[in-house]
């Protein structure tokens, strides 16, 4: 990947976001190639440590993508994830990382277009923010 491009980690739930990403591939939808996906059984599996470690390693942005609210296959995993993302944003801000680099999205497994739009939106957002300042600090070493 071009080092000038933002690097995004997407933590996607198995049933919706990952399925939507899969469908986007089947439909040959085009979206920025800046994203690396990790499939989770549910966004309720998201631990703040995953997010913190990703930023610690210099990732530019993290997306947590789960089912539509009310549509979680594990009832409320996505709602729990939403709160954890909120806390992670708070702690990241205290540590000096722009909280806008982290975002939670909700989509159904049929919303392949939405998945592509999410990646485009985050890519644009991260281009405006510039690289993760930690990535620069790491590369200066």
């Amino acid at each position: 990947m071009d080092s000038g491009e933002p690097r995004i980690l997407a933590l996607c739930c198995h049933y919706c976001a990952y399925a939507a990403a899969d469908l986007a591939g089947s439909l040959r939808l085009q979206y920025p190639p800046n994203v690396r996906i990790i499939r989770l059984p549910c966004t309720g599996k998201v631990d703040i440590a995953y997010i913190m470690h990703a930023f610690e390693q210099g990732i530019d942005g993290v997306i947590v993508a789960g089912c539509l609210e009310g549509g979680c296959h594990f009832q409320e995993g996505n709602l729990r994830a939403k709160k954890r993302v909120g806390l992670a944003k708070e702690v990241l801000a205290e540590a000096g990382i722009e909280p806008e680099r982290l975002e939670m999205f909700n989509l159904s497994s049929a919303q392949a277009n939405t998945f592509a739009e999410i990646i485009e939106e985050m890519t644009e957002r991260l281009k405006k923010l510039g690289p993760n300042p930690l990535r620069l600090a790491l590369s200066d070493k």
């Binding site: 703040i48 440590a49 913190m52 930023f55 610690e56 702690v91 990241l92 205290e94 540590a95 600090a137």
Partner: protein
């Protein structure tokens, strides 16, 4: 349980300013239960500190460990290497745990990563409420197991003040009137007649006003009575 809440990362950074190799030490008991100082929180705070220091181009080492209980020497032994190999300890325990580590390692700087809030219970997921001020002379048996010193904002022992409205305290509409709770509870258990008895004098000599408290139970002490043998 003792309830704590994490300090702001910037406040922690200020405390840790003189030190290079820092151990973030979690406690596996109360503060794990109230999601403030367990292994996960250690990971989160340590990660946030590493990020903050690297952004400052500050070469510091943050290490992590969590022990079962910081307030007991026996458990502190489990982290002895990590503590000895660090320049300072950021303890994510309650105030007792922080001080226990400091007493065990007299020359080691130890700092609190949490604000210890109170003795309380989990009211519902995400909400903890204070139930006990550790006054040292428990009288809740006289009040239907509702503590007037804690639950009444004024700590009144002889009935409510004149500002209780619809079961709420004048301090805030979010605060329940402790005396309303006492009345309801005594009514429910058929002991309303207890309120006819004059309230006992509070023995504040048992509380913190008498200085640092100590509890000694000879039956639990491991000392040999030489004279008796």
């Amino acid at each position: 349980m003792i309830v704590g809440h994490r300090k702001h990362i910037q406040e922690i950074k200020q405390m840790l300013a003189p030190h290079k190799r820092i151990l973030v030490l979690g406690c596996g008991t109360c503060v794990t239960v109230c999601l403030a100082g367990g292994e996960r929180e250690v990971g989160m705070i340590a990660s946030a500190l590493r990020i903050a220091y690297r952004l400052d181009k500050d070469e510091r080492e943050i290490i992590e460990a969590t022990i079962e209980r910081q307030c007991e020497n026996q458990f502190i032994e489990d982290a002895i290497d990590e503590i000895q190999n660090s320049d300072a300890v950021l303890s994510l325990a309650c105030g007792a745990g922080v001080q226990a580590i400091a007493e065990r390692f007299p020359t080691k700087p130890v700092y609190p990563g949490l604000d210890t809030k109170f003795i309380g219970i989990l009211q519902e997921q995400g909400i903890w409420t204070e139930k006990c001020i550790a006054c040292g002379k428990c009288i809740v048996g006289l009040y239907g197991a509702v503590c007037p010193l804690t639950r009444c904002s004024k700590g009144l022992l002889s009935g409510p003040c004149g500002y209780s409205r619809d079961g709420k305290c004048e301090v805030s509409p979010d605060v329940e009137c402790g005396w309303q709770l006492i009345y309801n509870r005594l009514k429910d258990i058929g002991q309303l007649d207890r309120l006819l008895e004059p309230a006992p004098l509070t023995d504040w000599s048992k509380s913190h006003e008498g200085g640092c408290r100590k509890l000694i139970r000879e039956d639990q002490r491991i000392t040999l009575d030489v004279e008796a043998s």
